[in-house]
């Protein structure tokens, strides 16, 4: 399998390189046949990479320890289902995975490319395939997962215990796919610029692929948080770790982009700005990959000491400088069809939202690279910790939530004060009422009060929109309320899908505020039969059972949970020690409700049978995990293909006229 995998990898590399050159040559020599051949090469690369990936997966399943990568990331005791996780557990396999995802996404993007982008498509293909060539070249030459050992070991070293978690099936692949997926909208933007198509031709494709990457990154970040919460044993979910930040920053830039691109789609504005945003997102994605593979800032996520750092640094420099040069070259052609009509408009709200998102990204970038800067300037490494991010990003995020409530409620172009009052007054009143009620109930933490008020403000605004639309539809069509509501959502999917995604952000906000301001923690050592009280829970530790397994020793501790003298639940939490890795992993016992989580994790098992427990009560965190599926639902609705407008509908002439015949003003 090693040979077939390696041969397929080299074939894929040759195809990607050919596709890059043939696309440009075909375009310059006006040869559609050559361009088509380049596209066929892009499709063939998918097949070659699928064979390569399958070879590696089969090598894991068949315990082919002659392959160094298989020996380093699996052993005979590894359950079969973790083969998929082991596949991308190391540098080499994850690079192959990235290559596969990029090739599949590129092939779909080329295949489904809009007809109006035909002139730009060869350049788009070239950008995609050049990026793929880079990743495949690095994989084949510097980190080949099919390299063989000079001997065949009896057993492998085993998979990292921290990766044997359900979340690992989705968290790393979603994040990696999200990061590399940014290449697609970036390639459409660059292709259009190179072809001189500096209008709005690329907007639809850019928006669709931007949202796909965005939701992949969002899912990856949420799943990563959930993984950290359940297995890392410290009771939190976000550490502001450099590699967490490296995935968070492109997500912020993409969030700005998928909002801003709507303005270009609807109003023909922000053309330059959108090019800048997608360049920034792509640059930050490359930075994230550089951090992950030999970056100079220490992180729990990085793939250990790797010699790939300088290669990724070079690619980062190229990936930032060349698009910037193309932007400067095409700058004179990037004039928007019209200017901002008023600062009281949805466009202006989008612009401010963009600036806030970029500000958060910049603060996070600054905190991430500060250790490096301090080392270069002072010979002393100063690491920036959570208080910095909380103090600076916290208020910015609250402002963002506020705008998330205002944006959808104000009209495009220009809002009158009376219409603003009509739209914003009910949600504002609801938000202020929430603050007043919570303050009256004894809640006096300013940030938390503001956050709860804003969450109510946003939710009320969205519910109001739904109510108004449903009522109008019910009156206009005679449909019952449920049908009217569903048809309302279905008739304008991008808009209402976006609202659902906004609700998911509100849920995440609740989770963050609940755990940041109201979490209670206790660290105790309990002997069997001992009790401890936290908030209104009483916990009784019953005892631990030690179970030796082939690659670890597992300690399962049983705890009974009482409230008001009544037994609520019996929880079991485990702590396993892996001698091969000299590492322990924990699996927290969590009693989760929408109000709060009771979180119990063993930190140490002592010889006398007593156990050190960390016990937390985390209010509202349940909402954070529910936000993931809600966000997926919203994005799915927003992305669901919309047929061309039916003939009885009227096109938005402002767009049509400008797109088909740009003004010369």
């Amino acid at each position: 399998m090693a040979d077939l995998g390696s041969i397929s990898l080299w074939i894929a590399l040759a195809l990607a390189a050919y596709s890059t050159i043939a696309s440009v040559a075909g375009k310059l020599r006006l040869s559609p046949a050559l361009v088509e051949s380049a596209q066929s090469a892009a499709y063939a690369a998918v097949l070659a990479l699928l064979v390569s990936t399958l070879s590696l997966v089969i090598a894991f399943i068949s315990h082919d320890f002659e392959i160094a990568y298989v020996a380093a990331h699996s052993d005979l005791a590894m359950p079969k289902q973790f083969t998929w996780v082991a596949f991308y557990a190391g540098n080499e396999g994850s690079l192959l995975y990235i290559g596969l995802v990029l090739s599949v996404m590129s092939a779909i993007a080329i295949w489904r490319s809009p007809e109006r982008l035909k002139d730009a498509l060869p350049y788009t293909t070239a950008v995609l395939m050049l990026t793929l060539t880079f990743f495949l070249a690095v994989t084949a030459v510097m980190a080949n997962p099919f390299d063989k050992l000079s001997f065949v070991p009896i057993d492998g070293e085993g998979i990292n215990p921290l990766l044997t978690h359900f979340g690992m099936f989705f968290h790393p692949p979603a994040l990696m796919a999200g990061l590399i997926g940014i290449t697609i909208p970036f390639a459409f933007a660059m292709g259009s610029m190179l072809a001189g198509k500096t209008g709005d031709e690329w907007v639809d494709a850019g928006r669709v692929w931007g949202i796909i990457s965005w939701v992949l990154l969002a899912s990856g970040l949420l799943l990563g948080s959930w993984w950290a919460y359940t297995i890392l044993g410290w009771g939190g979910f976000w550490f502001w770790d450099p590699v967490e930040n490296a995935a968070f920053m492109p997500w912020l830039a993409l969030t700005a982009f998928i909002h801003s691109i709507m303005v270009q789609k609807r109003r023909g504005m922000f053309r330059m700005w959108n090019i800048v945003l997608i360049n920034v997102a792509f640059g930050l994605a490359l930075y994230g990959m550089f951090m992950n593979r030999g970056g100079s800032v220490p992180s729990v996520h990085s793939f250990g000491a790797s010699s790939l750092g300088w290669v990724f640094l070079m690619f980062l420099a190229i990936g930032v400088l060349i698009p910037f040069a193309i932007f400067i070259w095409r700058y004179p052609l990037l004039k928007s069809a019209r200017n901002l009509d008023s600062m009281l408009s949805r466009e202006a709200a989008f612009l401010i939202n963009n600036l806030l998102l970029l500000a958060i990204a910049f603060v996070t970038l600054w905190g991430t690279v500060y250790p490096l800067i301090s080392r270069l300037t002072n010979d002393e490494e100063i690491t920036v910790a959570r208080p910095f991010y909380d103090q600076v990003n916290g208020p910015l995020m609250l402002a963002l939530v506020f705008l998330m409530g205002v944006g959808p409620l104000i009209p495009w172009r220009k809002a009158s004060l009376s219409s603003l009052r009509r739209s914003l007054l009910p949600p504002a009143v609801a938000g202020l009422a929430t603050v007043a009620v919570l303050a009256a109930l004894g809640l006096h933490k300013d940030y938390a009060l503001i956050a709860f008020g804003l969450a109510t403000f946003v939710t009320t605004g969205i519910l109001m929109e739904w109510y108004r639309g449903t009522l109008s539809r019910h009156r206009g069509t005679g449909e019952n309320y449920a049908a009217a509501f569903l048809h309302l959502i279905w008739a304008n999917r991008p808009r209402y899908g976006g609202y659902i995604a906004h609700l998911a952000v509100v849920m995440v906000t609740l989770g963050i505020v609940g755990t940041s301001f109201f979490s209670t923690q206790k660290d105790v050592v309990l002997s069997p039969g001992e009790r401890v009280t936290i908030e209104d829970y009483e916990l009784v530790y019953l005892g631990s059972i030690e179970t030796p397994k082939s690659n670890r020793t597992e300690f399962t501790s049983t705890v009974q949970v009482f409230r008001d003298g009544e037994l609520l639940e019996t929880l079991r939490t485990t702590r396993a020690f892996y001698p091969n890795f000299n590492m322990a992993s924990t699996n927290a016992a969590i009693r989760s409700t929408p109000v709060e989580d009771l979180y119990i994790v063993p930190s140490e098992n002592l010889p006398d049978g007593s156990v050190g427990f960390r016990i937390l009560v985390n209010p509202l965190i349940w909402w954070m995990w529910v936000a993931g599926p809600v966000m997926l639902l919203g994005t799915g609705i927003a992305l669901w293909p919309q047929r061309a407008p039916s003939p009885a509908q009227v096109p938005s002439l402002s767009r049509s006229a400008v797109r088909s015949r740009p003004t010369t003003a």
Binding site: A33, A44, V51, R116, P411, N492
Partner: protein, 154 residues
């Protein structure tokens, strides 16, 4: 040679040949005539609508926008005229549909309008929604498609 290696090389060679065939096929076949745009592509159908009346309205909008951008037209005037042109365009499109009554899409729309108002669709005056551009009967306060508030028509 080991049987596994031989098999890998054979399969790899097959993969390489298949890729070469795929890539070379377009080159051997040569350039093809331009394909027709797919009606469901992102382009939509209205951008390719070659009705001269619609073209005239687009031209008028273009001129209007130019006038507005040059500051010769106040906002209110621009809004009013722009809305008028949109309604005109809607009328042209509707006339196009009237001309092609056999079209299944027209029949469907006809049935929907009949079901909605139990009246002749020709008597229903439609105006475009300012937010989602859907056709909305003039007497509606909100768009039944997206819920946006309708701008009162003169």
């Amino acid at each position: 040679m080991d049987a596994g290696i031989a098999l890998s090389v054979i399969f790899g060679a097959f993969l390489a040949l298949f890729s070469i065939f795929l890539v070379g096929y377009s080159l051997v076949r040569g350039n093809r005539p331009e394909p027709e745009a797919h009606p469901d592509s992102y382009d939509g159908r209205f951008l390719e609508n070659d009705d001269p009346a619609l073209g005239d309205i687009f031209d008028a909008i273009r001129t209007l926008e130019l006038e507005y951008q040059l500051g010769r037209l106040p906002q209110e005037e621009f809004d009013a005229q722009f809305q008028t042109y949109r309604v005109e365009a809607a009328t042209v499109l509707r006339d196009q549909l009237e001309a092609g009554r056999g079209d299944p899409a027209w029949l469907l729309e006809h049935d929907i309008l009949l079901a909605r108002g139990a009246q002749d669709p020709a008597s229903v005056r439609l105006v475009p929604c300012p937010d989602c551009s859907a056709s909305v009967p003039q007497n509606q306060a909100n768009c039944p498609h997206c819920g946006a508030e309708m701008v009162p028509q003169p």
